[in-house]
Amino acid sequence: MTKGASPEQSMTYDRSGTGRGTREIARRAFRTMLEARILEEKLAALYRSGKIVGGVFLGRGQEALSVALGVHLRRGDIYAPLIRDQAGRLAFGDTILDTLRTYLGSSLGPMRGRDGNIHRGRPSEGYHAMISHLGAMVSTVCGSLIAKRFRGETGIVGATCIGEGGTSTGSFHEGMNMAAVEKLPIVVVVANNQFSYSTPNDRQFACSDMLIRAQGYGITGRRAIGNDLIDCLEVIGAAVAAARSGGGPQLVVADLLRLVGHGEHDDASYIPASMKESPLGRDCLTLAKEALLKREWISDAEISEWQATVEKEVEETATKVLREPAPDPAEEEWTAFSVVGKNLSGEDEQ
């Protein structure tokens, strides 16, 4: 990872716009949303043209919420993003290059063709690589935070995201309860996008408001407007700041709508038109652009320039990665062990 937020960049966002760094955080967040959107459009195109195998899972409509978490994290923090967090990943320091290498299975990428798409990370840099089993990453983030506590590191935050469907798992509940018991500095963001794949919320949970779960865990709950970048920055910024300063676990719940299918193979026909046309269905990128232009924190010319720059980088990177070597079965180690079965020179004993 090459970028990563510096401590200055990750200061708490202040809605009044007067706080130091507020304007810069919003600008960086918006630019990262734009980057994620453009990159994901390329991923979809590569999938449709048969270059990406398996699946492509996009975060369209969820970029504001995702980026608001990533942009508030620092180097040294722990981040376990989930399926629709391209924007948050880029804000945390993931790159267009690593994303494309993972989706295209390049042997030069962090996952080296051994895992793909959204299952990428660099754990040694605090960037956990999600497994598909929902809820499982909450406790791994807790574990990394415990390790930092053992070492006496302070001012650290761990963060993870999940959809409302993932909160139905036992793993999620165990992780949340454990975080609460240990009073860990963790921020868990729930993107309530109304459908778990195709299953609507009334078949997923029965409580009137998911936010009341925070009370059940004995932790702080906060609500964000999921497609409103300014609101997400403020609410999540406050949650991250609270966790960082000893306020314990923070649960953030945000309503929004995913503006694509579960994956690119899914036409999302189960989402009713009325919902798409409601305020929930408004595109967070459009709303963010309007909000920043209104505040004169950005100009149309800048947006055009950013767009052109990112499109160029995405195209050039995709071209480069498509030429990179695929993993070679003859060169593959074919062992899942780190040390077992290897001698000190790293060669197989048997």
Partner: protein
Amino acid sequence: MSITYLEAIRLAQQRALAEDPRVFIYGQDVGAFGGAFKATKNLAAEFPGRVLDSPISEDAMVGLAIGAAIEGMRPIVEMQFADFSTCGFNQIVNQAATLHYRTGISCPIVVRLPSGGTPGGGPFHSQSMEALYAHYPGIVVMTPATVEDAYTMLLEAIALDDPVVFCEHKFLYYHLKADKLPEEALPFGKARITRPGRDATVVAYSAMLHEALAAAEELSGDGYDIEVVDLRTVKPIDTDTILASVARTGRLLVVSEAWPWGGVAAEVIARVAAEGFGLLDAPPQRLNARETPVPYHPALWGTHRPTASSVVNSLRQLLEL
């Protein structure tokens, strides 16, 4: 001085905590209470803040260990009973076991499983889970059968960069005793020829080693010389030692307290059949627990699991083939 198998496990953890600041213990009731079996007795007081009670959350317990291992710690998770590790199964087999393969980061966690049957244990406090975890690439599965191995192998497990499922047998906790603990151990992954012989090989591990040894002793009265091999580590498996033994004896019986389907006994036989078919003078045999849940009543339990008596019967049949 007399040290039990259980005390050896406690002492290994005590030594690891004393020598390595990266080690901590996490599990239900392991703190001031000292664990359901007292495998962590007094450790919380001796190492403040490093022996932590967990909620009843096997999934999150293992997840926490994995996250801590990523950050360089050496966590030991105590499952209260091996049976409950199925509640943490996903984290063990999908997160810990895949971490190094996927990301290149090793996952040095130890999950301690108080395993196997005891009288009155019943279906949910008696299971032997080794085959389940050995099935998944990336997990080391240890099954110590002696006090000395319980001590040295647990230290080895903690020092290892790969995730280890450590199957310690509850029936051996109090029954086995040793005068002193060793400083040296067999190399990692090596099986031990516990009793040399020439007429047949019995491959066993964990509590079944002792049933096999008792059976061999009984048959020695009839003039049979039975070789007993202790696998020690189920995965990786020491096929070389097994084949060398079968080459000497020509006959193989594998004894396991676990169920037969897809088990360690089946794996040993598959390897010998595939790699040492010509060494065999008779079809290889296995003796497992019966195919029911582990029964509660001692009369049923004693028949459900292999015993010295049933090993003797199996061996007599094998020797006559």
